[in-house]
């Protein structure tokens, strides 16, 4: 039944099918007044239906050619794709250079491991200007838990500017006047902060992001901290939760692709009973685990924080350690020393 594939309300569709219009070709051969009379709908609705049916029948082959890109072109694009550094070179190495744009990356871990710290660090690092190898873009930070601390963001921003000044000092030893243009205040100005208090607000915000980003084209990263919080409690109907979450994931994917930005979703953990033992797994269930392009799991190993690439289409699985310092995320200092256990 081809008419069932048109995006219409179920009552209109029911009327169309019971009047006998089951294939798209039968609709396209009819004028809108006849259709309105036969199916008992208004003429404006009939006109809309005709437009949709005709677009499908005639326009699709051209859109096929326009939307097609072959893998050879994409290979060059992929190699030229910019990445957002995490300020920790070990982590960047296993991520292939940093968080990649055009991908949805999910980062999950136990409470206190540093997820919000990574989020704040990324929203500062995305603003590093292109002279220093960054993207020079803005950030959107969607906070659902209230864990964003402005003082901490200022601290990380100041540390970032100091690092950049040190870097120019090395490169342009004689050219003292080449000051870093960016100031910590500017960095804070370029982070768009949204505080979301319920899941309906979260869904509404995701729907609105498309328009928001079209107006602020510099946004290069969208961080959601955390995506789980409003969906864990108060949700009685788990099937509805799965539907809503998969739709949200598809919207994020579309945003990432359309505007070439990175989407970073921070997730919490839960225990799962598999193979006879309780293990830690990321929250929101099995269906959600398919909704991201890359997944990084953060865990404790003794006293050290480690990050493990759990899912990626092009990177091998690896883990790396990192620390959270007062200046932000950095390499763990003990990685260069070998610790011998007696």
């Amino acid at each position: 039944m081809e008419t069932s594939t048109l995006p219409l309300s179920s009552s209109t569709r029911g009327k169309l099918i019971s009047a006998g219009y089951t294939s798209l070709s039968s609709i396209s051969s009819v004028s809108s007044t006849d259709l309105a009379r036969d199916v008992n709908i208004t003429e404006a609705e009939a006109f809309e239906i005709l437009k949709m049916a005709n677009h499908q029948v005639t326009g699709s082959s051209t859109s096929l050619i326009n939307g097609a890109r072959n893998a050879w072109d994409m290979l060059h694009e992929e190699e030229a794709l910019p990445r957002i550094t995490t300020s920790c070179s070990d982590l960047d190495k296993i991520l292939g250079g940093g968080i990649s744009c055009r991908d949805v990356t999910e980062i999950g871990g136990v409470p206190g491991i540093g997820k919000t710290q990574i989020g704040i660090q990324l929203s500062v690092n995305v603003q590093i200007p292109s002279e220093f190898g960054g993207l020079g873009g803005k950030a959107i930070y969607i906070d659902t838990e209230g864990s964003f601390m402005v003082e901490r963001a200022l601290q990380i921003a100041e540390a970032c500017v100091e690092d950049m000044e040190e870097y120019t000092g090395y490169i342009h030893k004689h050219y003292k006047a080449n000051q870093v243009q960016l100031k910590p205040k500017d960095i804070l100005e370029n982070i768009f902060y949204f505080r979301v208090c319920s899941y309906t607000e979260q869904i509404a915000l995701v729907n609105h992001l498309d328009k928001f980003i079209s107006e602020n084209k510099d946004v290069k990263v969208v961080i959601v901290d955390s995506i789980t919080f409003h969906f864990r409690q108060d949700f009685d109907d788990l099937a509805q939760r799965t539907r809503v979450l998969s739709e949200m994931a598809l919207k994020f994917m579309k945003l990432a692709k359309k505007f070439s930005l990175a989407v970073v979703l921070l997730n919490q953990v839960t225990t799962k009973y598999t193979e006879g033992s309780f293990q830690l797994a990321l929250a929101l269930g099995d269906s959600w685990s398919h909704s991201c392009t890359n997944r990084v799991i953060l865990y404790w190993n003794g006293d050290e924080r480690y990050a493990y690439i759990d899912k990626s289409p092009s990177l091998p699985s690896a883990s790396a350690s990192y620390t959270v310092t007062s200046r932000g995320l950095r390499n763990s200092s003990s990685s260069s020393k070998r610790v011998k256990m007696m």
């Binding site: 039968s26 096929l64 893998a71 809503v244």
Partner: protein, 319 residues
Amino acid sequence: MAPLKHLEMENPIIDASFRDFCSSHGILTVEDFLIHDLYELAAFAERQVDADRLKEGITVMLSLLEVKCRPLLNGMELLEDLQRNKHTLSSGDNGTDSLLQGGLREGQVTELVGPSSSGKTQFCMQAAASVAEKQEGSVFYIDTGNSFSARRIAQFICGSSAAAALQKRVLSRISCHTVYDIYTMFDTLQGLEVALRSQMNVNECRLRLLIVDSISSLITPILGGSGSQGRALMVALGYLLKKLAHEHNIAVLVTNHTVGAGENGKTKPALGETWKSIPHVRLMLSRDNRNNICTISILKHTSMLSGQTVTRKDNQQCL
């Protein structure tokens, strides 16, 4: 069904007098025409003044109906079609090929089921690279999760040390589309159908493999809930894929995810019971993270025993 007068534009024989004659027998739509006794109608037409025109009208209607309905094939024709047109495509991995007795078969829909990060996307990319390189056919890759990586496919082509010309030739046969909702998916597939019908198989690079990774992320947002609209769309999508596979001799590969079955802990494929009967072949992938071994087992196959498995060591560079 559409009323008879809509046929008048293309077939002028079905004019007002024909329609008046039909409506006098209670035939207003094509459906009524089909259920009516046609001998009786022809006999009544004999008695009318313009008998020849009316009988010609009836014949034209019958010929239109024959054009629309599917042709009948007998067993020999099916066997010939199978041997001549529907070859097996290697999936790029020898173990899987030996499990499936050759690989992916054209004209069939193969489904890969597996938990997250079990290697489904890698399998799809490897199959795409193998078909584009060895069978020299073109590949249509529909990606719903931004997981298509041209760099990874380049690694699958005979190791990454292949000459740039070979890489370019092979990679230009793979075209990738991103689709984020089911209606765009229908548009894309219908556009593909139109393009295939008009192309008529001239060049040697005809479409041989259609990959949808993953189909479950398109269907999960609409499945369930109050109406059965989601399930209707899922079944319509499945039938469209099967139709494309059969009519144009394409192998279709789709990926699905698993859901946990609750207390007993066994995972089962998503999308429910209705989807179970749509793919011809269902394969389950599982990965043991500790020793990096990938297992593929057959859940359902049209001509082989289910339950057979094959394992392979998961080498990160080249599966």
